[in-house]
Amino acid sequence: MSILDALQAALAGEHACAYGYGLVGAHAATRDEPAARAAYESHKARRDLLVAQVRARSAEPVAALPAYGVPFAVTDATTASRLAGLLEERLAPLYADLVAVAANPVMREMAARALVEASVRSAGWIGRTTTLPGLDPVPE
């Protein structure tokens, strides 16, 4: 996988997270709203960073889709947490890929910290982790 491919894949994942957290925020429990908002802002910041990285390689950043399929109906705080956890678990492998192909230490660190954040957030939302987040298969 090339660096550009990994950047674009992570960017596509961040677009999906930004979309997903819109849904999460609409249904999260009151006590979880600050966390949902913070996660949304963090994903948007990483998205912008990835856009800049893609542009720096003279490529066109992948665009967000108008909408994304959600594998279950998000109707309440429980399903909102489940979706947030799933978003983070599915983002993690994209950053693991970026760690492996990163062109320089700064990019590797950004990717590694993004992977750690995704893992921390998914643990916070759904109360579980795997042995090697980002490398282990994503649970259904």
């Binding site: 665009a63 599915r90 987040p133 282990d136």
Partner: protein
């Protein structure tokens, strides 16, 4: 616009799509462990180190693996001591310790390991005789890890575990940035991610 980008979009996760990516991703760890197995085979079978040169200088990644392995053994010792001191915690702590044990196994099987134990000559990795395997099992035994102090107060004991996990996660990120081998860097980032998640999970209601 979006239609025109469709081929690029396919790089990404069709999030959180209807189960399609299950098919695209399951081999990741298999590939990784396969790579680890290959490098392990390369270390344990042959080639023998150049003759008459004495032990080769340890490569930086081998030292890194040795240091991470020692850190994982320290975590395992801390979990064991905490479970012994607070038996009511033991069941809850078991999955955390199991994951640390897997970290240890994955790191040690990802390539050559040189164990940083200057005080015990037996603890350094050495090439095998007559082209036999280098000593990959030369790491300190769990007995070599000093028994950690565990607070008598249960909440304080959990807090100590959480602090240890946070420190471990930070150290693994630093190790990830030092690694020359990209596959090892990826493993260390994932280990850091798990340890940081452990901190969160230990802070949640049981």
């Amino acid at each position: 616009m979006v239609r025109g980008l469709a081929p690029i979009v396919s790089y990404g996760v069709p999030m959180p799509g209807a189960g399609v990516d299950g098919a695209t991703r399951p081999s990741r760890r298999g590939v990784l462990l396969g790579t680890a197995a290959i490098s392990l085979a390369a270390c344990t079978g042959e080639p023998a180190p150049p003759p008459d040169q004495g032990p080769p200088a340890p490569e930086p990644d081998a030292l890194l693996r040795g240091r991470v392995a020692a850190a994982e053994r320290t975590m395992l010792a801390l979990y064991a001591a905490t479970g012994a001191q607070h038996p009511t915690l033991a069941d809850r702590l078991l999955p955390f310790a199991v994951r640390h044990g897997r970290h240890l196994a994955v790191v040690e099987s990802s390539g050559p390991v040189t164990t940083p134990v200057p005080s015990t000559p037996a603890g350094t990795a050495s090439p095998g005789r007559d082209g036999e395997s280098p000593t990959l099992e030369a790491s300190p035994t769990p007995e070599a890890v000093p028994r950690p102090d565990v607070p008598a107060d249960l909440a304080a004991a959990v807090a100590a575990l959480r602090a240890a996990e946070r420190a471990a996660a930070d150290a693994r990120i630093a190790d990830c940035l030092r690694s020359e081998d990209r596959a090892l860097a990826e493993v260390l980032a994932a280990v850091a991610a798990c340890e940081a998640a452990h901190d969160v999970l230990l802070g949640q209601e049981p």
